[in-house]
């Protein structure tokens, strides 16, 4: 997350905007990216072995969405940020110990299954239901944020469907930047093929933004932010409703961890000229 902001972009972010937004961020749980993962099949279908034991993080691109949301809310007075997260309650509690130190938000916790093997349609249905029930949510001001694709299922489906279920007609995916104008309209940059971005202009909320990495560095852990969040967080976790996820006819025939072990030739006795020649030949060969 080290793309530098251009000077102009930075200025517009620091101006206080007259419009406010209700930003709802959907973020799931993913295993800490450094963990070694193994699939295991249980009575409810496939999952990751020991997933409940492994250190977990907020899904990385969804976390970017949360930080962007907090940043946007800070520059648009009157805005509010909610974080909607579906996962096992105990895991959500652990997660919040870190996430709550990074941004201010109101938590909507949903006690549900963990993992990327669940059906995205079921997840979307639960999320849309929870969002519709948020007291005080102004749908005309709604920006639905989340990760474009998760680090677990990686489908890019759940957020899109949630937006569709909520009747939002403008969706953007693979977002790296959003720039607000005074009238509430905004320009969005979405990742497209070839390492480029597609720039579009949207008239305003409501809209769905599925983020990629965005521009902001990960906020520092700040226990003051955490302590302020705790007041609403613990009650939210305690009264989290349980949600079952309907498989919706999805059936896994097999899950495997293909081990690609090659027999490696380790070359220690060639000098750089000889290596370069060998490489030129290899690169050119079909």
């Amino acid at each position: 997350m080290h793309l530098l902001l251009s000077g102009a972009a930075k200025n517009s972010r620091e101006r206080k905007m007259p419009n406010f937004f209700h930003i709802v961020v959907c973020a799931g749980i993913a295993p800490d990216p450094l963990q070694t993962l193994e699939p295991a099949t249980g009575p409810n279908g496939p999952g990751i072995k020991n997933e409940m034991l492994l250190p977990a993080v907020l899904d990385p691109w969804a976390a970017s969405a949360l930080y962007e949301a907090a940043h946007l809310a800070a520059s648009c007075a009157g805005s509010k940020v909610w974080l909607v997260s579906l996962g096992p309650k105990a895991k959500l509690q652990q997660l919040m110990m870190t996430v709550a130190q990074k941004a201010s938000f109101e938590l909507i916790a949903i006690d549900g299954p963990i993992g990327g093997f669940t059906d995205a349609h079921a997840t979307a249905s639960v999320l849309a239901g929870a969002i519709s029930a948020i007291a005080g949510l102004d749908k005309t001001k709604l920006l639905l944020f989340g990760g474009w694709e998760s680090a677990t299922r990686g489908a890019g489906v759940a957020l899109q469907l949630t937006g569709e279920l909520l009747g939002i007609a403008d969706q953007f995916q693979g977002v790296d930047r959003v720039e607000m104008s005074d009238d509430g309209s905004f320009e969005v940059l979405e990742r497209v093929e070839g390492g480029k971005h597609l720039a579009s202009n949207c008239g305003g909320a409501p809209a769905v933004l599925g983020w990629a990495t965005g521009n902001l560095p990960e906020p520092r852990n700040n226990p003051q932010v955490g302590m302020a969040n705790m007041r609403t967080m613990m009650p939210a976790l305690q009264k989290a409703k349980t949600a079952a996820l309907d498989p919706n006819g999805l059936r896994y025939i097999s899950v495997s961890l293909p081990s690609r072990q090659r027999s490696t030739r380790v070359v220690k006795d060639l000098n750089p000229d000889e290596i370069a020649r060998e490489l030129v030949e290899w690169i050119g060969a079909e």
């Binding site: 699939p39 899109q160 971005h197 720039a199 059936r251 896994y252």
Partner: protein, 343 residues
């Protein structure tokens, strides 16, 4: 009894189908042939009828949605177009390329048709039913799945099937009228990344060149030669038309006040939270080859590495050939040879 529709869209020119679309047509044609079922092709784009010529040889029913509103990607218009085509074709199975354009809308379209969707599909097989295979957990776990729901939408990943190629002809394309809402989103333009490394990411390249953290660390002679490293890498990219990837540690180094390669940004990151590109060959340099990074090499064919560490991860089953050598020296000579041969 299934009926298969493949949805396609035009490329930036508006007059030809995108490469991913042509690959999806191949996949759909194969599936239709295997199942002995009919195939329809839907096309979305500003000049959809002219794009349709390239797939006339598939012998399928062609439905198109064309016009100004469909020139550039936009959720509202693309979703409406695809939905209209689906309603007209009434398919049980819908294939489409997993491009950014269709990835943006297809889940919503599936919902509007009362169907279900699975994305990033690598292949469709199965003897009795229809089995789709895809990767989860950032390409670490391969899953084969199936659904009973219909219509079932499958977004196909690119670079796996051959693009459809057949005699161009003018097909009979049914033009569909689409009722469009007032748009609140309009296309502005395409942008290249800020750093001016313009075009270091080349999905079509035959070779992926990965730069690891070792390029900007202290070398055995105690010096940091970041500028020289940058020059060598950029020169190699120019001469070989390779695509540039990076390990997470190198991309992150900018944040810790270490020397950086200014043309690298997080879009170049391969593995971990970065991308999993597809290239026939990959060359890793100054990189340890640890598992979280190598996971991003899942779809790289032949692999070679240059490292000073004879115990690095690449030497243990992750690469085909590892040269224990100083990458600065090897790359300088490699560049010289490439320049001479004019390739």
């Amino acid at each position: 009894m299934e009926s298969i529709l493949v949805l396609t869209h035009c490329d930036e020119t508006g007059a030809a189908l995108s490469k991913g679309s042509l690959e999806a047509v191949t996949a759909a044609h194969e599936l239709a042939a295997r199942l002995g079922e009919a195939l329809s092709i839907g096309i979305v784009g500003s000049k959809a009828e002219s794009a349709a010529q390239s797939v006339a040889s598939a012998g399928a029913r062609v439905l198109s949605v064309s016009g100004e509103a469909f020139t550039q990607p936009r959720f509202a218009s693309d979703a409406a177009a695809c939905t209209a085509i689906c309603r007209a074709a009434q398919p049980t199975l819908v294939l489409a390329p997993h491009s950014s354009r269709f990835g943006r809308v297809m889940a919503a379209v599936a919902y509007r048709l009362g169907g279900k969707i699975d994305t990033h599909i690598a292949s469709i097989g199965g003897t009795e039913g229809i089995e789709a295979s895809r990767w989860l957990y950032r390409q670490r776990i391969e899953a084969v799945l199936t659904r009973t729901s219909r219509p079932w939408f499958l977004l196909m990943d690119g670079g796996i099937h051959e693009p459809w190629s057949g005699e161009a002809a003018v097909p009979h394309a049914e033009q569909l009228a689409v009722e469009l809402p007032a748009f609140r989103t309009r296309f502005v333009g395409f942008r290249s990344p800020d750093q001016g490394g313009a075009g270091t990411i080349r999905p079509e390249a035959k070779l992926l060149f990965v730069a690891g953290a070792g390029w900007t660390k202290k070398q055995p002679d105690g010096q940091i030669r970041a500028a020289e490293a940058g020059d060598l890498i950029l020169q190699f990219l120019r001469l070989s038309a390779a695509s540039l990837g990076s390990s997470k540690s190198l991309v992150d180094q900018g944040g810790d006040g270490n020397a950086v390669l200014p043309f690298l940004n997080h879009l170049n990151q391969v593995g971990q939270t970065g991308s999993t590109p597809r290239h026939p060959k990959g060359l890793a340099t100054c990189c340890h080859g640890e598992e979280p990074h190598v996971v991003g090499w899942r779809f790289i064919g032949e692999r070679r590495a240059i490292s000073l560490d004879p115990n690095c991860g690449w030497t243990r089953g992750k690469a085909d050939v590892v040269y224990i050598a100083d990458a600065f020296q090897v790359m300088a000579r490699l560049n010289a040879l490439l320049a001479k041969s004019g390739s």
